[in-house]
């Protein structure tokens, strides 16, 4: 994929993700979208050096034709403690369902898009490489019905 192509994809509407070709190299074919609603998210560079508390990340994994309820994500965030300080990463294969609803519930959502058919395990592995947290919780979606 050309760099111009990636730029074009990054500026697309988040609810209409790109269709990526399956022959792209796996790592390169992921597209990251930062959705910032309100405050700017904390970058990894901003927290270098000693910290008093661990940084937390929540990875939501959505293989093809899987969905996750925003309520489930919210409750997991609540379980993590102060959800303002949790980095949330959504890793999905193919067309994600209900992305808009999730974005409304989660303050800063980082979206990783993978080609359709990418396995759950590969999504988890790649999302982990992007997660800045010291404690990373992984949450899988459930198969979409209908």
């Amino acid at each position: 994929m050309s760099s111009a192509g990636v730029d074009a994809i990054l500026f697309q509407e988040p609810t209409s993700p790109p269709s990526l070709t399956a022959d792209d190299a796996f790592g390169r074919s992921f597209v990251r979208q930062h959705e910032r609603i309100g405050a700017t998210s904390v970058t990894p560079e901003a927290v270098k050096g000693p910290r008093r508390t661990p940084r937390r990340s929540l990875i939501v994994v959505l293989p093809e034709n899987h969905v996750v309820s925003p309520d489930v994500v919210s409750s997991r965030l609540a379980a993590e403690g102060d959800n303002e300080l949790v980095d949330v990463i959504l890793a999905c294969a193919g067309q994600p369902h209900g992305l808009g609803a999730l974005q409304r519930r989660v303050r800063d959502l980082q979206v990783l898009l993978a080609p359709a058919g990418t396995s759950k395990e590969d999504l988890r592995e790649f999302a982990m490489s992007q997660a800045p947290g010291d404690i990373v919780t992984l949450l899988s979606g459930i198969p979409a019905t209908g």
Binding site: P54, E125, M128, T137, L138
Partner: protein, 361 residues
């Protein structure tokens, strides 16, 4: 803390890429309902990308930075996040069977007199090379001989009630910074608090680690030294009889001690027949090792037992040297403790992540 679960499985890892995938898949293949347990992987500062492998099957991954603080420290960090009423510790080179974890939960549910249960290793444990087979056979000998209530906890796979684990003071992350004897020490504290710890001969797991002679000697050296320096060998030998480097029965011990004293005295007298004396020592060693050699012969055949005999004597020699070293270190320098910086941080009560190792209560 969110809702509780029946079980949290904690896997502490350090550069475990070779075996971790298989280990986590085996845990996921357990016959427990998927929503009844969680897998927490604590990465003790790996440099081989183990975290990526962990992400494929874990529910939570804890990434510790720094130089690595040992499995005791890592497991404690896992327990702090665990939601399970029972926590199971599985080593990064141990394959559980589909029913291992559910049966552990079943035993803990049925027996209120015990708070911890460990699985023993199966006969397929270890790589196919001779030394791996020798080492696993030796440990299996101890587990089978002393299966039942004892102090040893989780040599590879064990489960404990979370409440009991916390009230026992968790793993001693202050003194046990390496993967050595931390389970034995925890088991001793569980028993000391009047709680039972069961080593089950019916529950089996497969250990995958490949051993060579150097690794075995290194392990024996570390165990022997720490056993004498931190735990006190004679005390632990009584509490954890599955320590099998020295396979003497208790009845034989005074006789061997007397014989050893006579031999030591004889060392200062010019031997009239050095060969006869060496032969006598060898005969005594072979006789005292008869139980373990008999076990080898039954498990692997007579040839295996014959080849194992000199290796076992070498291992015992290393263990004896390690015990002596540990005793000397104990009386000269005292018990094991972390480096000065860690002690200073602990004294000040510095709050950082990852946390400074905690002193035992």
């Amino acid at each position: 803390m969110s809702q509780t679960l029946p079980l949290s499985v904690i896997v502490s890892i350090r550069d475990s890429r070779a075996t971790l995938g298989e280990v986590l898949v085996a845990i996921r293949a357990s016959d427990l309902p998927g929503d009844s347990y969680e897998i927490i992987v604590v990465d003790d500062a790996s440099s081989d990308g183990s975290v990526a492998i962990a992400a494929r099957n874990a529910d939570t991954v804890v990434k510790l930075s720094g130089r690595g603080s040992g499995p005791a420290y890592a497991r404690n960090r896992g327990v702090e996040l665990a939601r399970g009423e029972v926590v199971a510790f599985v080593d990064d080179d141990v394959l559980v069977r589909p029913d291992t974890l559910s049966r552990m939960l079943g035993v803990l549910a049925q027996r209120s007199d015990i708070d911890a249960i460990s699985a023993s290793r199966d006969q397929n444990s270890g790589a196919s090379n001779f030394i791996s087979q020798y080492w696993n056979c030796l440990l299996r000998f101890g587990e089978q001989r002393y299966a039942g209530r004892c102090a040893q906890f989780a040599p590879g796979c064990g489960a404990v009630r979370r409440r009991a684990f916390l009230s026992a003071g968790m793993y001693d992350e202050w003194r046990f910074a390496t993967a050595c004897l931390e389970d034995v020490e925890l088991g001793e504290r569980l028993l000391g608090g009047g709680r039972g710890a069961l080593l089950s001969d019916e529950l089996k797991v497969t250990h995958l680690k490949r051993w060579n002679l150097g690794l075995v000697c290194q392990e024996v050296w570390g165990r022997g030294r720490l056993l004498a320096r931190s735990l006190g060998y004679s005390r632990m030998r009584a509490l954890a009889p599955s320590e099998v480097i020295f396979t003497l029965s208790r009845a034989l011990t005074p006789a061997i001690a007397l014989l050893g004293t006579l031999m030591l005295a004889a060392a200062f007298v010019p031997p009239p027949r050095p060969r006869a004396e060496a032969g006598l020592i060898l005969l005594v060693l072979l006789l005292t090792n008869l139980p373990v050699n008999h076990f080898y012969a039954r498990a692997r055949g007579f040839g295996f037992a014959v080849v194992s005999a000199p290796i076992h004597i070498l291992v015992q020699t290393v263990a004896a040297a390690a015990l002596c070293t540990g005793w000397i270190l104990r009386y000269v320098f005292g018990d094991v403790s972390p480096d000065a910086t860690t002690q200073a941080y602990s004294e000040v009560g510095l709050e950082v992540w990852p946390p400074v190792p905690r002193r035992p209560r």
